[in-house]
Symmetry: D3
Subunit: 292 residues, 6 copies
């Protein structure tokens, strides 16, 4: 016992024993994870997040990853010399922009995440909403009319391909590109897509990896973290401006999931290494829990 102290042993054992009931509880359950922010950009966090997802798979859960785009899209649009256009404050996605967005999401970011998961020992398979007709969408209607281009709202999920891959022990990694019966391409919000997929799969959990500690009462002050938000409190928190900006689609996706049988939804800090693992396998949990 000279090499490793008894104290270390006790701590290790305690952690394993703490994780025990969660492994049991979540066996065979689906966990939808929305990747984004630093967890997707920072190499160290990329690796730790990939390890977390693979571990979830090893212990018998069905992790499903949904990712967004981020800086890479703008970099590529720049190189193509495509200038952003706006209408009613919303970015217009014309066909050419859509092609580039699809190419970057499906051909670059998605494949990078697949590789990260596979190098970590997983068996990941990248998908867009076109593959297996996974995500169907129609054009977003904007107030006051006007054509917003290829920005879509999700109209349906056919989760069979996700089910088949999970059933074979694989990890689906999904880019937020949708299609329709004519084969058109639609750009959908990744947070919303994650919510819809979690709802259709009646997932156990929906987890958003973000660059904040969670939902903050004062966005400048991490100590104002709200640990738990009840479904019925959301409206009032929006009215108070606590749920605002990029938090709105995330919280709405949580509600959408809760409406359709998702058990618990979480907004956690993706900047802490292994935050996903700690959220799932420890008593305390991290960030903000949104639940009934």
């Amino acid at each position: 016992m000279q090499e490793e102290t008894i104290q270390e042993f006790i701590q290790k054992a305690a952690t394993l024993v703490e994780a025990l009931p969660y492994i049991r509880e979540f066996e065979g359950k689906t966990i939808v994870i929305k990747y984004g922010g630093s967890a997707m950009e920072n190499p160290v966090l990329q690796r730790s997040t990939a390890e977390d997802v693979v571990l979830m798979r090893y212990v018998g859960m069905n992790p499903v990853v949904v990712h967004g785009g981020g800086p890479a899209i703008n970099r590529t649009l720049d190189r193509f010399g495509i200038k952003p256009q706006f209408r009613n404050g919303l970015r217009v996605t014309d066909s050419e922009t859509m092609s580039v967005v699809e190419m970057v999401l499906a051909g670059s970011i998605n494949k990078e995440l697949v590789s990260l998961l596979n190098v970590a020992g997983g068996n990941a398979v990248g998908l867009t909403g076109k593959d297996g007709n996974l995500i169907h969408a129609k054009q977003l209607e904007i107030d006051g009319g006007g054509d917003i281009g290829r920005v879509g709202v999700v109209t349906g999920i056919d989760f069979k391909v996700v089910d088949v891959l999970c059933g074979a022990g694989m990890i689906p990694v999904i880019a937020p590109i949708a299609t329709d019966t004519d084969g058109n391409t639609w750009n959908v919000n990744a947070d919303t897509a994650a919510g819809e997929i979690a709802a259709s799969l009646q997932a156990e959990k929906l987890v958003f990896l973000t660059d904040t500690p969670g939902l903050l009462r004062d966005v400048e002050d991490p100590s104002t973290l709200i640990h738990q938000v009840r479904y019925k409190e959301v409206e009032s928190l929006k009215a108070q401006g606590v749920i605002a900006g990029g938090m709105i689609p995330k919280v709405d996706a949580c509600l959408r999931g809760l409406d359709h049988g998702v058990r618990k939804t979480h907004i956690i800090d993706g900047r802490i290494p292994h935050s996903l693992l700690l959220e799932i396998f420890t008593v305390r949990g991290l960030g903000t829990l949104v639940c009934h």
Copy 2:
């Protein structure tokens, strides 16, 4: 009987009856199709080829599509201002070029083919060699040394993801991007990839859709089509220069397949609408059959 002549009825019935033994013979069998050339570019041919693949699936075969790149890659490289470099007559694929090639193949061409098949009534799922660790490769060694960059040779196929998708009635559509245990990206020849995949699946058939009537004794004269090439004749036909240029990787892929249990391999004219259907379901067959 006034509206449609008896004669038409007889012809229709004859065609259906002719197709009968083939539907029986190929039920549950895997057919690997290498898309390329006009069948991938021309809208009419795109549609007819997609219909053919979907029909094969409907009648119980397992079609697996492998595609190449084509003009879209060069157009995008141009827009990025990337200039082609050559070494020993081979194009050098540096990391930047590789990123663009992957983005176009996996994020643009692959998804377009998936959409075409889905609009035709199929349930297609796009893959690269990274997805499900499908295609592993290492760097191509070139004579005289020198670094050719991200050009790879296939070192292994893990066909599980293809198997799982076929088993669920879906159509895998594969871009010729490979990976390795470090998660690197390798560009592999699409013809070769098709051959390796057919070999690993012990496919019933491997079919190349090309822009020629098949293997021609005189490349200028379609009437010199060679209907059948025996495995053992290949070496001599290469020596005579009949098998040359772009035909070499195709014929080599045929041989590779035949070595590993593929029953028949075909090089057919993708410019004829429904050439795939006619090749599979009619007595005569089209193009060149390469077999033992």
Copy 3:
């Protein structure tokens, strides 16, 4: 392309593409076919009908054949010197007649059809209503009383043996002989039996092969073919005498099927080679469709 004209290729491809949605629609569906008339007597039509049934099986449908008797029964009764007797206009089937009828139906006609289907590449198995307790019947009661002998009305279908054989890829061929719990033999109307079997199997289609173009408004004039009869129109058409004679049990069997979940029922011209195939796999359809 010198040997077979492009035009022929185009027509063949068009036929295959036309058949595509039907193959898809009917995969795994049960089609009950009532053989009779020329399709059962004429050698050319025997072969073409057998090919049609086998093709249906190949492409994944579950064809179930029900046949009647025809001239062979009378020829054999004649040779035995059995004279027909009538009561209330109905033929009396005494025990001796019943024995001969059963022998001819089950031992001669049924086995000939089984052989035809097997030579065409199928795997047919002949059954009577005794086999697997498939068809139960009781004595037909006639107006004014009187003993009509072994003429039965169907009281129940136990379709397990049909299900088991279809599930194993075989084609059940059924003679209209019924039984009861005492093991008695009953002669039942073949059209009625086909309707009951289709109803119990909740078949997709019930098709009668007849020696007329379908239901004719004027039985002498083929140009008066009624392409479609709605369920609710049947009573009125009977009152008008359009549905009369041998058409009555056929149309009644159609209604019986429709009552129990059969999707579509057809009365078609068995004198046209491959009429069954053309009915199933072409847009136009043949003969008369009876549906809701």
Copy 4:
């Protein structure tokens, strides 16, 4: 205990306990039974034999019944006025005779046995060698040439239909009619057919129900019953004339079965009610055992 004596109880219990190891031993095993003679003609024996077969099925065995023809065929040939012809001492079966034989075997005798088994509580399905392509045959060649007509020798068994029916808890009842790839009809020896079917199924037992106590050393003296014949003793017993006449095809069928994995073969006295049951479920056994 006044109504039924203790003694009766003890005997009943003893019988059940004696049967125990046999029920265990034969669970899931196939037993091929060749019906013939009195067991097929006498109403009391018909019923008791049917009960025996159904009991075997109830306790988990897979009984398969093969039957012959008997007097009914000659009666029908007589009524048709067909006169027997002979060549080299063998009856010539011309096409017309064959039709009648098939009609009687498949349409009359076979269906009567099916009914008997079903009335006894079984679920029997009648088959000929045409059904499911079960028995293939070619013409018997006779010494000195000459055309013997439709007399066939078995060339192959495709037992799938038997397997499928047994697997569904049904009892196949097989008439000795064979076919070939052209759909011809062949009359085969029922004893031989039973042996071939038992061999192809690698049956546990093959049992012949006959009108003798078994193989007798002196055919006139039942007390000369041979209880057991070893495979290697057969040749010498034939040379001595002990195995002669109708016993030859039976014993040859036993040997054929033993060659292909049948465990035990029996020739027993079908004139004793429930002889089949007693043979299977009691220590002593009946008749003659032919084994390795």
Copy 5:
């Protein structure tokens, strides 16, 4: 036929044929047997009862054995010098007594029964209510309060372990020891436990092996055996004192079973060898049938 008379054959066959409908009726059905009294103590009866249970298993039933304690418990308590204590006329089971009772039931009697069944050719597995959390109980509340110790009443059955063992062809042998979520040990009445287990399994039959001919109108006179008791007659028979003493928990267990789907319940004379077999497989039945 000189060695065994025809008469014996006829009787054997009759017994087997009589047993036939019962083997059919009970295939795959669960029969819960409460062992007790002489059937558990007398070596001859032990063997015959074990044979009966094994035969039931062989012919496809799922026998489940529940046993009580008997003299062995008192002998062991004596050797330990533990004196019985009573409260309100009920024996108090303190922890020490409970330990001894568990040790004797689970470690001695249960294992002896397992061995008896295995020597008879079965594959038995001994269980207590702790194994697989099979029987849950809480403390019995007694009138007027007071602590009765470890005497429990059943609060729930988790029959999974019984199901799994039956499904694998094994025979569960259950000692009436129960547990709770804290892992405590409770002594439950074996008759009651048998009733609860039969109810939870929705058994076909529940059979009590006792040392009386059944329920007697006059307990001194075997000729007053009541062959059948209807559910609704029980209350009145209790009021009359016909159902009294040790019969009360048995009859109550019968009613409990009948309430939850058990088809028939029996109280039979375990002193007659093979009484279980005769009850199950003969027309007459033994003892008293309690049913709806």
Copy 6:
């Protein structure tokens, strides 16, 4: 982050990540654990060991527990007034002693372990070698002859019952009592039984929980722990007296396991809480590894 320090988070995450490859490696694998010493006697260790076994089950392993006897047996023998007898230095186990040993092992210790595992959230089922005919033995022959009584050596393992229970997610807990075809009871060494069971199951691991740190070069000095012993070194270590006394049957059981496909065998310190968990899920491992 004020409540739980970042440091703690990092340590927890590190432990979970360390455990990851082991959970993956051992999924679906069988681990045979020999309980004994303090881990079986000390309440704290009982609980922690039970938690460890249940965790193994939760993460998909198949733990199988084998236990010995210990002080409880002697206490009970004392209370019965049974005096130990010795022959050739071995304790003689007469029938009376055997009964007590069986009662204590199967009825007391085994059930206590089952309860411990069930309270910890498992689904344990207690077995002896009689249950499911699991362990067969014959009398141990001792040098110089003489009857050692009911001391047995294992002659065979029928692991079906263990397999069935593991397959249903249950945890078999096995007492070292064996049987034979006559139903006799044999006392076998628990270490040896564990080795035989691990060998028959071709377990991944065999782990002995002991009251020492492992195999010590100097039994008085824990710092002389031997971390790894190769199969081929065992003989020499025995000759040196390093492997001696109670270590001999343990090491021999390890070798027996290794001979039959067990991958790794361990002798670890059961006095450290969660030593089993730490051995399985951490890089370092505890105690002595015996391997090829």
